[in-house]
């Protein structure tokens, strides 16, 4: 696993022993940050580019779902996972409908499956970031096209004048089309399951 990129993951639980246990489980695979409260988690999110945040649901001052509401607003790109040891159906429904959770995980989890879920979540983060980058590039390309068209309207090229860099522009367009074709499906932010 050493050649794999270590994605930064934030673990939130008010029980330090659970965090300790998770660190033992995940430290070889991920760059880990831990917080014992939702407030501390939000501070860490301000300071570090977290790709995945995984929080316990049952915490004294801010529940996992309440935390994820705030994360969704302030850091929408972070992939959100809540875990719980008991069936609070209202929280599950709220999480799925309003917080855009990637997963709702139940304790105890299978450690191998948890590691796999976290890798999938990190991959989802990469997909979302790549998708946003692609959208930004397309927007920029369209702007360039509009400027180019405007320029041609204002000053049509005459014979013998310097040719516009249409070749490069066309090449950029082809590359963007390729990337668009590769992005076969837009990323979704809501997926629930154990």
């Amino acid at each position: 696993m050493s050649d794999r990129k270590k994605h930064p993951i934030l673990l939130v639980d008010d029980e330090p022993e659970i965090l300790f246990s998770l660190q033992g489980l995940l430290r070889r695979e991920f760059e880990l940050y831990t917080a014992e409260s939702g407030v501390r988690a939000l501070e860490i999110l301000q300071q570090h580019p977290i790709h995945v945040i995984m929080s316990d649901q049952r915490m004294p001052e801010m529940t996992g779902v309440e935390l994820m509401h705030r994360v969704k607003d302030a850091h929408p790109e972070a992939i959100r996972i809540v875990f719980t040891g008991y069936a609070d159906i209202r929280a599950v429904v709220d999480a799925i409908n309003n917080v855009g959770l990637y997963r709702y995980i139940t304790k105890p989890w299978d450690p191998d499956e948890l590691i796999e879920v976290l890798h999938q979540a990190a991959n989802r983060y990469e997909e979302i970031v790549a998708h946003e980058r692609l959208l930004a590039d397309v927007r920029q390309y369209v702007q360039q096209a509009q400027q180019l068209a405007q320029g041609l309207r204002d000053q049509p090229p005459s014979a013998g004048s310097a040719p516009l860099d249409l070749e490069q522009f066309t090449s950029q367009g082809s590359q963007l089309l390729q990337r668009l074709a590769q992005a076969t499906s837009p990323p979704t932010t809501t997926s629930a399951g154990k």
Binding site: D14, E15, I18, S21, M59, P111
Partner: protein, 172 residues
């Protein structure tokens, strides 16, 4: 598919001391002590409304299972069955509390399955323990392994150093 050794993830609940132990028992009945709480770790359920008692015990005991799973994973082991064994019903509580908590785990968790038992004579008996089923079911072979391993674990309860201590933090 897994190449990890299957074990019974076994939680012992000492109701009078309001504490728990978690261990592995392999299919031959060999016992591996893992973690233990301080006395009083389960005390936050005492004196609160029934639903809060159930909620607390679900949460606390699922955390116990989680840590047990994690410790087993580090030893290349994996639970094939979760077993709760209490030395009696939860004290200072309605008689319904124990079956309610037991049924919750049996219904909530199916992989691996859960069984909740009580050992009326406690854990440290030299003879095969008398186990009463509160909720869930246990395969005959797994029951045999449990009956072999349980007295071994019982004998280790008075060896605190055999277990990794989990300090109690708060009452959430």
């Amino acid at each position: 598919m897994t190449d990890k050794q299957p074990v019974l993830l076994t939680v012992l609940i000492e109701t009078s001391h309001l504490r728990w132990y978690v261990a592995g028992i392999d299919l031959r009945g060999e016992a591996l002590p893992l973690l233990r709480s301080d006395a009083g770790n389960l005390s936050p359920y005492v004196g609160v409304p029934f639903d809060d008692q159930v909620s607390f015990l679900r949460h606390r005991l699922s955390g116990v299972l989680q840590r047990g799973c994690d410790r087993l994973w580090g030893r290349q082991m994996k639970p094939c069955q979760i077993v709760f064994v209490a030395d009696g019903p939860f004290v200072q509580a309605d008689a319904e509390l124990t079956p309610r908590v037991a049924e919750h785990f049996v219904e909530w968790m199916t992989r691996p399955p859960v069984v909740y038992l009580t050992a009326a004579d406690g854990f440290a008996t030299p003879n095969p323990p008398v186990l009463n089923q509160v909720a869930g079911e246990l395969d005959v072979d797994l029951r045999r392994a449990l009956e072999t391993g349980l007295p071994l674990l019982g004998a280790m309860l008075n060896q605190p150093d055999a277990w990794e201590r989990v300090p109690t933090k708060n009452a959430t």
